[in-house]
Every structure is written in C-alpha cells, then in structure tokens.
C-alpha cells in the first residue's frame, strides 16, 4: 500500500510538471489551432534567463529571497517577450496560409531557438540551484514526496484555477473564447483578434517560464535541449485531456504522469513511454476529442 502511494505521488509530481507546459500548448492550440512546437523552447529560455539573472544578482550580493523573486520575474518577462516575438515573426504572417505552413514555421523556429541558445550560451549542462528549501516539519513524508514536488503541485493547481477564472469571467477571456470559436465572426463583432492572439501567447509563455524555473530547480540542471523533450510529452498530455481545454490539459497531464509512474512501478521503466502513448491511442479511440474535449458535431 505504501508503495502504491509512493507511486501515486511520483505520478502526480510528474503530471504537474507536464501540466505547467501543457497549459501553454493548449491555450495556443485552442485559439489558433496550431501545434506550437516552439513552446518547449520558450520554457527552456525561461529557465536560462532565470539562471543568468540569478547568477548576476547573486554576484552583486543581493539577499537570496530578492534574487529568487527578481529572477523569476525576469524569466516571465523575457519568456513572454520571446513568445510575443515568435508569434509576430513566424506565425502572424501565415494567417490564412495553408493549414500546415505554420506548423513547419514552428518546427523551424524550434530548431532556430535551440541552436541560438546553444551558440550564445553553451552546449553543456549548467547546474541550476535548488530554490525551494526543505523545512523540517515535512521530513516525515520526505521519502514519499518532496517540498519541490509539493510546490509544483500547488502552483499548477493555482495557475489552473486562475486561468479558468480569467477565461470564464474577464473581458479578455470572453474575447479569447470568441476568437477560438470563430475568428472571422469575432473580428466582425469588434474583437481585436491580433491583440487577443498576442495576449494568448504572452500568457502561455509566462506559464512556460514559471514551469521553466520550477522544473529546472527540481531537476537541478538545464541545457538547450530540455524544451524539446518536455514539449512533446506536454503536448501529448494536452491532447489526452482534450486540446483547447484548460482543465483538460491538467487532467491529461495527471493521467499521463500516473500511467508512466505505474508502468515504471509495476512493469518496467524502459517501457513507460510505450504505456503512455498506448494509453493516448486507446483514449482517443473511445473519446476522439480527448477526456474533457467537446466532441464537435459537424453541421452541414
């Protein structure tokens, strides 16, 4: 039983890590129907920015809490700026182009950003400091779940709730929903579609930055390639939950994380991804729009 619980917690940890990245994917997909392959790279850039700024501030002798907060803010600001720029440069000129063209543009952007960071910084792994201290009162459960794991879990939940509120109750959220349902119609009723799309990219990229900082602190190291691997998994999770749906992305991530964890625990970690992708295929066969996605009924 204890083993089972341990596996549940490791699955939840992994799931919440996927979720932080998956949220950005699902938002962008929901609004312009594009698999944003460069999203993983934004996450990587967020982690790099945080590391660079933190090191610099540290050198100038700022106290640790201030360094932490400033580095996190810098990561968010620059990731959002990158997300915004990528959309302006690589996707906006392609509105109205054939459906697959933005996808190729996204793949190109992903390759470009990876190599840009590799050349400007380093191909090697850089150590990333542990940001979250381990208080003594959590020691009894430390063998099951760590403080960082709990923090990531908590942040994911908070972010999901805030995002849902934003989309449900604010004007911007309403404009986003309108744009995702019908871009032309939204434009006709006075929604500034370009701005809405930009805002979506900025929010999604900020989330990626938060993810970048927390996850890098969890794994303790970064290099230019971390975005790609995490990106594919996170995207899978977003699809599993029903792409375009915010709670869906989180649920999909948890399902994926738990599946991998149980596959490792009871079968073999060599085949964890096989189980993950097989589950994806199975779920999509029975629910073709994902767990929480609405099945679109096509009217003719």
């Amino acid at each position: 039983m204890e083993y089972f619980l341990e596996l549940v917690f490791s699955g939840l940890t992994r799931g919440s890590i996927y979720a932080l990245i998956a949220l950005g994917y699902t938002m962008v997909y929901g609004i312009i129907g594009l698999i944003n392959f460069a999203h993983g790279e934004i996450y990587m850039i967020g982690a790099f920015t945080a590391l660079i700024i933190a090191t610099v501030l540290n050198m100038y002798g700022l106290p640790l809490p201030a360094v932490l907060i400033l580095a996190a803010i810098a990561a968010i600001v620059w990731s959002a700026a990158y997300g915004f720029t990528v959309e302006r440069v690589a996707y906006r000129p392609l509105r109205g182009a054939p459906r697959l063209s933005p996808l190729i543009s996204a793949i190109g952007m992903s390759i470009f950003l990876q190599n840009y960071v590799m050349l400007a910084q380093t191909p090697n792994f850089l150590p990333f400091p542990t940001l979250i201290p381990e208080p003594a009162f959590l020691e009894p459960i430390a063998s099951m779940v760590g403080t960082t794991d709990l923090t990531i879990l908590l942040v994911t939940t908070v972010v999901m709730v805030l995002l849902t509120l934003l989309i449900k109750f604010t004007r911007t959220g309403k404009a986003m929903r309108a744009t995702s349902q019908d871009r032309t119609m939204a434009f006709l009723v006075g929604v500034n579609v370009d701005t809405v799309i930009s805002i979506t990219f900025v929010i999604g990229s900020s989330l990626a930055a938060i993810g970048g900082v927390l996850i890098a602190s969890h794994i303790g190291q970064i290099n230019f390639y971390i975005g790609f691997i995490a990106g594919i998994k996170a995207f899978t999770a977003a699809v599993l939950g029903g792409i375009g749906s915010i709670p869906g992305a989180v649920l999909g991530s948890f399902v994926l994380g738990l599946t991998e964890s149980f596959a490792t625990g009871y079968v073999s970690s060599a085949y964890e991804d096989v189980f993950a992708f097989s589950l994806l295929v199975l779920i999509l066969i029975f629910r073709p729009a994902g767990l929480l996605g609405k099945a679109s009924i096509e009217k003719v």
């Binding site: 440069v89 182009a97 190729i104 380093t122 699809v239 991804d273 994806l280 994902g290």
Partner: protein
C-alpha cells in the same frame, strides 16, 4: 520607386531596440556558474541591433515591392494570374528541353562529381521517395502523419533482420519491406482513422515513438541501441564492386526507384482512388454523400504511404550497411513533413525540389560550421513566410469543354 520613409526608419529603430532588449540576457551575459564568473559581451548587442535594423528595412522594401506588384496585376484585368509552374508545364518549348537537361544532369552526375556528392545526392533522392510517399498521405489525402518514420524503420529493420538471420538479399527484401510497412500502416490506420486532423497527428506521433522505443528496448529482437551492422549492400549479379562503383550503383538504383515512384504516384493521382482522396481532403462529408467509402479510402492512402516508406527503408539499410534506432526519431518525421509542405503539398515536382533543397542545404551549409542548424531553422521559417503555399503550388488538373459543346 522604392523609398525608405521616415516611418520605415522609425519602425526599424523600434524593431532594433526591441530585439536588443529581447536578446539581452542570452546574447550579452554569459555566466560560468562553476566559478561565478560573468562575461559581458556588449558587442553582441550591437550586432543584434544592426541586424534587426537592416532586416526590418529590407522587409519594408519587400512589402512595398509586393504591394506594387499586386496593384499592377489588379490594373491589368482580364489576365488571370498564372503561376510560374503552370506556365512552365503548359509551354512544351521550354518544359521539354529543361526536363531533358535535368534528366541528363542526374544521369551523368556521378561522372562529374566526387563520391561524396554522389553519396549525399543518393540520400537526397531517398528523401524524394519518402517525401512522395508521405505526400500521398498528407498532401493528397490531407491526413497529417507525424509518425511516418515508423514505417521507414519497419522497412529498414525488415531487411536488416532478414539479412542478419537468414542472409536474405536486397532484391527479395525490397518487396517484403514494403509489404511489412503496409501491414503496419493498416494495423495503425484501422483504429485511428476516424480521428480528425490534429488528433490523428498526435496518435501517429505516439505510434512513431512506440516503434522507436520497442526497437531500442527489445534488444533480443532488434539488437537494441547497438544496431545491426554488416548489412549486405544491393548485389549486381554477384559481381564484386569497388567502393566507388558501389556508390554509383546505389545512386542509379535510387534514381530508378524515384522514377518508379513518380510514375506510380502520377498514375495514382489520376485514378479513381486518387480522385477520391482529393475529394476526401476537400470535404469529408460531401465525399461520403457521394458514396465513397471513407474508411477504405483512408486506409488505402495510409497503407500506400507506408509502403513507400518501407521500400525507402530497405534502400536506407542497404545503403548504410548499418542501422540503429537513432535514425528513426521524431525529428526525421518532422524533416520529411517539412519536405512535403515546403515543396508544395500535393505537387510531385514540389516534393522533389523540397527534398533536394532540405537535404542538400544542411550539407552545403557545412561551410557555416557551427551556425549550420541555426541557419537551417531560420531558412525554414523565412521560406514559409515568403512562400506559405510551398515552392511549387499544386496544379489541379482541369478539363475544358471545347466550344462546339462536345464533352
């Protein structure tokens, strides 16, 4: 006239400042966390600013040029806009000699260039076959497949394993590889083809990953990450060939393969199945209403695409004489997809050009050494921006009724 207005100038300045801000942490600061050293590279900021400024001005100029051209075209009403490739194919006086010259060039290629050039040309031609195969699925039938490389792997491993265990030769394995890949295509296609658009894409991506993982992990079956070496190269009536002759022989085999592929796909596009596939891409529901069996047609497309990947896989294993799972990653699928989209979806000529460009480009970018892949990514993005429909837009066959009303 092209003029750079004050407004252009101001925009360029803003762009430059924005990019200088954007790239500041990554380009300017380099930290050495082990020794807490910081290197400030302020000169990089200057380069970024200058590049962004120039790029912005150039884009503005290009936009002016494009708009002017458009308004000119609008003035010349009545002359409908004909794409260059349509004009090209409709003018035999140009098309025939150019095609003949192209054919001649490929024929004498090994005589003119070094073995290295022949070798990468062979690789590029193999990607032409792969691209044409994926084109059936993506370009013609409109089914986005992100796991195409799985079928390529099936073909390659079919030959490699048969050759290792039973000494099966290339020519016997070639059809077997195709058949195996087609079987896998049907196996995957059957349950997932009712998925739409990007859901299908992600399932195929997952399938590709599953195949890759099985190849990596099931060492007893596939030799694992160590791979399979000493695969026999294609034989020519048991004649011993020198290294150079082998490469040339492989080159001509691949040319033959490309010609066969073009022939088959060309015939296919104009066949009943091809018409049905085009219809399917345009409107699934209308297509069903016309009485076309959606599932069968989709499965056919999937299996056909897979067959070509399998054949290319056998070629691949034979050419390299060594394979391991690293050749069949998702990036490879993405590359083949890029070939199809960049070349022009659904267009045979486009796919050929796309493959040659995308495979040969990184080879010739070697001069840029470190900046090779950076340039490749940038070129991919800019090609899409400037020609989103691909290098060669597909020409749909059109039929005109003659004036006297005869059909």
């Amino acid at each position: 006239m092209n003029v750079i207005t004050i407004k252009n100038f101001r925009n360029a300045l803003v762009t430059a400042l924005w990019f200088m801000f954007l790239t500041f942490p990554i380009m300017v600061i380099k930290v050495n966390t082990t020794e807490n050293l910081i290197v400030w590279r302020w000169h990089n900021l200057l380069y970024v600013g200058a590049t962004a400024f120039t790029a912005s001005l150039l884009t503005a100029l290009y936009r002016q040029y494009r708009d002017r051209k458009r308004s000119q075209q609008q003035q010349e009403e009545g002359t409908s806009r004909v794409s260059w490739n349509e004009r090209f194919f409709n003018t035999p006086a140009i098309a025939r000699p150019v095609c003949a010259l192209g054919a001649l060039f490929f024929l004498v290629f090994p005589l003119l260039f070094s073995t290295y050039q022949v070798n990468i040309m062979t690789t590029a031609l193999m990607y032409v076959v792969l691209g044409l195969g994926l084109n059936i699925v993506v370009g013609v039938a409109g089914l986005l497949n992100l796991g195409y490389v799985a079928f390529y792997a099936v073909g390659a491993y079919t030959y490699a394993l048969l050759n290792m265990h039973y000494g099966v030769g290339f020519w016997v394995a070639l059809p077997l590889g195709g058949i195996m890949a087609a079987l896998f295509g049907i196996l995957l296609g059957f349950p997932v083809l009712r998925l739409r658009g990007d859901y299908l894409a992600i399932v195929t991506l997952g399938f590709g990953e599953i195949i890759l993982l099985v190849l990596k992990n099931w060492s007893e079956f596939s030799q694992g990450p160590g791979g399979i070496s000493n695969i026999s190269r294609p034989g020519l009536f048991n004649i011993q060939l020198s290294m150079e002759a082998t490469l040339n022989y492989q080159y001509y085999l691949t040319i033959a393969m490309v010609l066969l592929t073009i022939f088959v796909i060309n015939r296919l596009q104009n066949s009943r199945i091809g018409r049905a596939l085009f219809a399917l891409r345009e409107d699934e529901i209308a297509c069903q209403a016309m009485g076309i069996d959606k599932t069968t047609i989709k499965l056919t497309a999937f299996a056909l695409g897979a067959t070509w990947a399998g054949l290319a896989g056998v070629f691949f294993a034979a050419k390299n004489a060594y394979i391991n799972p690293d050749s069949f990653t998702f990036l490879e699928s993405a590359m083949i997809l890029c070939i199809v989209v960049l070349g022009g979806m659904g267009s045979i000529l486009g796919v050929i050009i796309g493959a040659l460009v995308l495979i040969l480009l990184p080879e010739y970018l070697r001069a840029f050494s470190d900046y090779r892949m950076l340039a490749f990514g940038a070129i991919l993005v800019s090609m899409m921006i400037f020609r989103p429909q691909g290098i060669v837009a597909n020409i749909r066959q059109s039929y005109r009724s003659s004036k006297d009303g005869a059909p």
